[in-house]
Point group: C2
Chain length 175, copies 2
């Protein structure tokens, strides 16, 4: 299984008066940039069968932009384990169970620092091998082992500035 | 300083009769694919001021393809520390010394597994955080600390299959 990891796009700043942290929405600029990021991911072939998202507004909005860009019927499911402070073991259990359901390409949308810790733990076996992801940033991991904590190989890491500005010259057969 | 890491392109197989390992050349396919990879790196703005290469033929040839694609005057220097079995501390000393020489973007061309160990050690502080690089594969690290072993943040990881197939939609201001 391939694991595609996406950090939510640019949202209203933490501490904006009258907006609880969990309710922060993407800014207009964040939405516009995320649409370009999603187009870049699509053109590189990073299109999942299923998206698991943090239920927080800014993550859910990001996931919805991705869904729209991919333009095919993809299931989107909210997963509390992807919210800040979520239980990582629950996420890993979910990922492992999806292999039995024949999911080939799974995308998760969430928050730093937990998303980078999850990616680092899966790719390098240690949560301190934290992977930096900018807002709208992406990495891909080829999962190899599904015992307990999934293990895999980091195969791509792409900043949003790159994803927003690329297009494919020819179909990519294999990534 | 940005550190751009490139693994040499596809070469004649190890153990080819009559060809010592150090003399293995890039195959015709390897040369052709590496030219496309180099064009991709150029279009993403990953153009160095200086290239340090392993002196082995397959790495030197890879570095020369990169130089040609970048199309500007870039110094190329052979560094024994980048050959298989090279002394990593010598490479780190060299990298640290280049900062004083105002090198902003340094590219190193070498071999696995040492190149992935070097990148892993710089990005994650542990050589066991090995970064997989396919032949012609690329990663970029933003160096932050230059005391002894350089430390930095992994900001990009791109497989050759992607680099060969992208082009820029617009100039990339910041990567």
């Amino acid at each position: 299984m391939n694991l595609y990891v996406v950090r939510h796009a640019i949202a209203a700043p933490r501490g904006t008066p009258g907006i609880p942290d969990n309710d922060r929405k993407l800014t207009r600029d964040g939405i516009s940039k995320m649409k370009q990021v999603a187009a870049g991911l699509r053109s590189l072939g990073y299109v999942p069968d299923l998206i698991l998202s943090s239920p927080l507004v800014r993550a859910r909005q990001t996931a919805e932009i991705l869904l729209q860009a991919f333009g095919k019927k993809i299931e989107l499911r909210m997963v509390p384990a992807l919210a800040p402070g979520g239980v990582r073991r629950d996420l890993y259990r979910e990922i492992v169970s999806l292999e039995d359901r024949k999911v080939k390409n799974l995308m998760i949308v969430g928050h730093q620092p937990s998303l980078g810790e999850i990616a680092g733990e899966i790719a390098f076996g240690a949560a301190q091998s934290y992977i930096e992801l900018k807002k709208g940033g992406f990495c891909a991991i080829e999962l190899e082992s599904m015992q307990g904590t999934p293990k895999g190989i980091l195969v791509a890491l792409l900043a949003p500035s790159i994803l927003r500005n690329i297009k494919r010259k020819a179909p990519i057969a294999r990534i």
